[in-house]
Every structure is written in C-alpha cells, then in structure tokens.
Symmetry: C2
Subunit: 203 residues, 2 copies
C-alpha cells in the first residue's frame, strides 16, 4: 500500500532494538482516511489471494482494532477483538491464549468469548504488526479453540527480519502485509510495498 | 440513535451492580455498519449543538476507539486514543490522568503524548460509556494539560442513574449520548433515544 509506505518513510522512527515508532498513524493517533484505505487494501489483497466467504474478522486490542474495523466495513462482516484483560461483562467459559507483549514487555493473555466466534465462522485475522508472529499465532490458536476456520492473516506492517512469517507457515493460509520493513539500522528504515516491490528499497 | 436503542433492547443484558453487557456490538464484537452509523450520529448531533471547527478527536483505549474512528471518518479529523499503559514507543514527557476502571476494577492511568494533541486543537471527546463520568473527566483533564480546547463530549451509552453528566457540567460543553439508560432492574433495562424521547420508556 503505497500511501502507507510513504507515511512510514516520512514519519516512522527506529527507536532501536527492532522497535519502529509509528504512533502518528497506528499506535496512538489514527488517520481515518489512511485507516479506511488499509481496510480496502486488505480486502483487495485477500481477494487476489483467492480468499472468499469470510464471515468474521478477529484482532487483538488495542492497535489492531482500527484496521480490523475498516476491513470489516469493506467486507461487511463483524469484527471481534480479543481482550487482554477479562472485563466483568465477559462470562466464564472463555477461550484464552498467551502471547508476549512486544511493546510492553511480559506476557499477555488474549481472551475471546465463544459467543462471538462460532464453529461455522470463516475468519480473517488482522493485526497491526507481524514481527515474531507470536501474537498472531496466539490469535490463530483462539480461532482453533473456537473450532472456526482461519482463512487469512493480515498485518499493517511486517518486520521481515523478525521472521514471524515462517512461524505462521504451518497455518497454511495467505499472509498479507501492507508494508514490509526489511531492515532498520540507525536512521535508515528499509521499507517496501510488497504489491509493487518484491525487492528491498532503502531510504 | 434508534438503531442503537433497538440493539440494546434486543441484546443488552443487565449483569447487576449497574453493569450493562453490550459485548456483541461495543465491548468485544463490533458491527461495522452500526459503528459507522454511530460516527454519523455523533457528527449530526454535535452539529445540531452548534459545535464546529473540530480538528481532533480524543478517546481512550479500548472500547472508545471504534466509535471515535468512525466519527473521525465523518469529520475527516485525526483520532488520538489515550493509552492505559505507556508503550515503549512513547517518549517521556507525556501527560497522564487517573481514572477508575469501571469494568476491570482498580485505577487506570490514561496517557497522551503532546506530539498529537496541540494547543491549537479543537477537540471532541468520544467514549463508549458515560457512567460516573470519571473516565471522561480524566480525558478532559488530558485535553486541558495539552492546552487544547475541549468542544464537546460524546458517548455511545449514558447511564443517567450514575449521574456522570452532572460531574461534567463544569466543563461547559455539549454532552451527546446516542442512547440513554435510565434504569436497570432485573431483566428490565429502561433505554431511550434522547433525540426523539426525552422521557423514559421501559421494556
């Protein structure tokens, strides 16, 4: 998604230790038009990958909610966001899976109620980052616990050097990234649009 | 917003102690079309209240993000979501305010970076619930700390019996609720559309 790649080029900051700051349009502030375009891009890319018949989108709070919602708008399907703490409105008998918190440290529990993810659901999994792949693997585990069918995985930004994609290969579903970061060294962030640029393009 | 009132009537559950379960369309699963309509309803209601010139929307993670984003889409302004834990991407020098967690217990810190909320910003504050008003008061405090101008407050659901509206009166801005719960007793939830029904309507 070219608009996203350009935004990362102009605003993304390498904070070191593999941490990319994109707070201005992903993790703290949202640009509604850019976020809507992310939803359109996911829908287009999954369609190109042969994915159809989706009935639900799953994501994780917090930063996955916005791109999952806009993808849900385009596909006209409900969006379930896994909770990281069980609100008192959530009954017992929920499913949970553990994932490391990349930006906060420690382990987080991801919780989904089987009320909203059913065995006949065909599910797209959307999140902000694909880095180590452990959060997405935990969400995929929740889909499996609910006996629903995972049909595709989408992320706004993939950090290819953290090799999460290979961790998810056994799931055997299309994995769509809207922008791919191949390297971050000092002030240099190597980012590309995987739709148009299979090779790395440094800036 | 009639569509919302009807959804609360058909799916809302009184869990006791003032807790309303609306996980199917607010706190765990989102209906994209309903959420988009919330954004349109906020924009329409604030316009009717004479609010204009908005440059930013502020909300709190987690459940405020979706309605704030759709309102941001309609008004074409960025949305800032206050964080409840400081991600490592967020610099020092942030503003914070404390609020009680209504659904989780305890106190949460709400954190905003002054990078995204500037003194010349005219801000709408959107959240899922207006109950005691303490979370919204904390968000208003963050707007004040950033020296931005608060222009209006919007919530999806107001629980009028928790009298949060009076706690926010000193802010002297329009307060818009898309649906108002006047009472919850056993299986009876008294909900109304404040646009069309100034009086209570039990079901």
């Amino acid at each position: 998604m070219q608009q996203l790649v350009e935004r990362i080029r102009s605003e993304g900051r390498n904070l070191g230790r593999g941490i990319l700051k994109v707070d201005g349009f992903v993790n703290h502030q949202l640009d509604p038009e850019l976020t809507m375009e992310m939803g359109r891009a996911f829908a287009r890319r999954f369609q190109s990958a042969g994915v159809s018949g989706i009935t639900k989108i799953i994501t994780a709070e917090v930063s996955g909610i916005a791109p999952a919602l806009t993808c849900g708008m385009v596909l006209n399907v409900p969006v379930v966001y896994a909770r990281k703490t069980r609100p008192i409105t959530m009954a017992q008998g929920v499913y949970s899976a553990q994932a490391p918190s990349h930006t906060k440290g420690g382990i987080v529990e991801l919780i989904v109620s089987p009320e909203y993810l059913r065995p006949d659901d065909h599910v797209l999994l959307i999140d902000d980052f694909l880095a180590t792949g452990k959060t997405i693997a935990a969400l995929a585990e929740l889909v499996d616990q609910c006996h629903a069918t995972l049909c595709g995985i989408g992320c706004i930004i993939e950090k290819s050097f953290e090799v999460g994609r290979s961790r998810l290969a056994h799931l055997n579903v299309p994995i769509v990234a809207l922008a791919v970061i191949d390297a971050m060294e000092g002030d240099s962030i190597t980012v590309r649009n995987p739709e148009t640029d299979p090779a790395a393009n440094s800036f």
